[in-house]
């Protein structure tokens, strides 16, 4: 009995194994093909940015050579960008605007969410429904009146016009609220008995326990704010306060287009955000995933 069992099973096992191997190989081929699709524009951009010869970039664009760094390789295009415009200034503007919006936002949004999630007080229910209702209003729907308002108070062409209106964000409050409400209430009660004030509870107990949600909100806000285009396009005029996305677009729309320089510019914008992404990759994925748990 036992011996026949083995003889019957063995060839089946082998064929199963080869079948499995084939499916694994096919799987990898598919995965690699899709990876090529997602990577080719980015690789093309980097490779073109280090080709010093503009005519070579144009000549190479129609074939596989577009992806091969050969010929006159160097960083001449990068120097050109720095020579033609205050790239450092644009980079500083973007970093300053995004980081101050996100960091101030972390404090203010988490504080109101803490009050709503952990303290029972009159008006709490109303504020919660108000904030959930406000999530629906897209920035695009209010940019025109907002432009009218900031124009009246003379904020056009400044840092604050790109920071202050976006610090408090209803969706960020909601994410904090959802996280805080899941923490055990006994934590607060124990601290209360020890005589801790609400601010102490927030700062010493809630914040240290809530690193994941702080990371989530910071990353999501960074992703959204870093690419902001419509509003800065409306409120910045000169070089002084212009953030990167608007600066690239204006450089790109000048004729004649020098593609080597354009790609050097876009590469310098892309490299820092790709590095940040690769460093905090797991956190990025987690943040995006938790933005979907809603409703």
């Amino acid at each position: 009995m036992a011996s026949t069992d083995i003889t019957v099973k063995n060839p089946q096992k082998l064929s199963l194994k080869t079948r499995k191997n084939i499916s694994v190989i096919l799987n990898y081929l598919l995965l690699i093909a899709i990876a090529v699709f997602f990577l080719f524009p980015i690789i093309f951009m980097f490779v073109s940015s280090i080709k010093n010869n503009e005519t070579q970039i144009i000549r190479d664009m129609s074939n596989i050579k577009a992806f091969i760094p050969y010929g006159e390789i160097g960083i001449k295009n990068y120097f050109d960008v720095f020579q033609q415009m205050p790239f450092g200034r644009f980079m500083f503007n973007s970093v300053f605007i995004v980081s101050s919006t996100v960091l101030t936002g972390l404090v203010l949004n988490s504080m109101i969410a803490y009050a709503l999630a952990r303290i029972r007080f009159k008006g709490r229910g109303f504020i919660i429904s108000l904030i959930i209702a406000l999530i629906i209003i897209p920035t695009e729907a209010v940019v025109i009146p907002l432009l009218l308002m900031v124009n009246r108070i003379g904020w056009l062409d400044s840092y604050q016009v790109q920071i202050v209106p976006f610090i408090v964000d209803a969706f960020s409050i909601f994410l904090f609220y959802q996280f805080f409400i899941g923490l055990p209430i006994s934590l607060d009660e124990a601290a209360k008995i020890d005589g801790a004030s609400p601010f102490q509870i927030y700062w010493k107990i809630i914040v240290p326990l809530s690193k994941p949600v702080f990371a989530t909100v910071a990353i999501l806000q960074f992703l959204f704010r870093w690419g902001d285009f419509l509003w800065p396009l409306m409120v910045t005029r000169g070089y002084e306060y212009r953030p990167l996305p608007v600066a690239i677009q204006q450089f790109f729309s000048q004729d004649p287009k020098v593609w080597g320089d354009i790609f050097a510019f876009t590469s310098m914008v892309t490299i820092p955000s790709l590095i940040i992404f690769l460093l905090f990759q797991k956190w990025f994925m987690r943040s995006v995933a938790s933005s979907g748990i809603k409703g």
Binding site: S62, A170, P198, G295
Partner: protein
Amino acid sequence: MISESAISNTKSLKKKGSSLQKRETFAAWSFCALPLLFLFIFLITPFIVAFVISFTDQRLISNPNLPTQFVVFRNFLRLFNSSSFHQALWNNILFVLVVVPLQTFLALLLAVLVNQKLRFINLFRTIYFSPVVTTMVVVAIVWYFLYNPGEGLINQLISFLSFGKLGPYNWLNDTSLVLPAIMILSIWQGVGFQMVIYLAGLQGIPYELYEAGRVDGANSWQQFWRITIPQLRNTTIFVIISTTILAFKLFTQVWVMTRGGPQGASKTIIVLLYQEGFTMLRVGYASAIGVLFFLIVLCVSIFQRIYLKEERAVV
């Protein structure tokens, strides 16, 4: 003895409680005050102002000789009769009809692929997600070059795959091709985001369901349709709704690549809003566009809430 001390204990706690409550209420409001003030100034006020000035002929720089007038529904009537608004609305709807199903399907497909237990699978997840962290303006510029009418890489690829029978196309200058061209790069940039949301959804499905399915003799295809898809219902609703809203917000890539052209073939609601409000300085008219845009987003969001509620009632 024990009960007495317990009573006095609760009494003192209650006394302590009321003063504590006052302190807590004060603290709560001081936590809420500043954020609520910001929301009031920068979101609620402009939102109300949008409704108010959409009924006026307000201009960005007001002319002292021509005071702003209340025009009732004139902006809305003009909007409903304007062919460029029809065109923009239709472009957005077309974009939604094509991109939302396609992107949702692709995101699910990618999520299933990268949910396998294979070596280097994290590398593939990272690669598929990397366009999401690439700024949209950069994406639009790179694809502008790839879509180059004559010798562009995309044209060459199509010509190569069709043995020279198809193309070359004038992607961004052809009224019938410009929108599909923008759709492709939008999906390329955005699908990684939804993939990650689906991935989280897939990993949240209890393993026992699949085991039970296997015991009942379901093959992997049946397991996918009978277990995976129904379990991902809420995730799918979320992905569809958020992609729809994003599709109505379409602006950046269009502005960088075509500014709504050729002949308005890629004009969207937000492009129109920008042109009317910022270029033409017709703030009242642009606000009317903003109000309609909000109503569209509101309808889409209400759909989401209805469907999600239904789900809760079932469970």
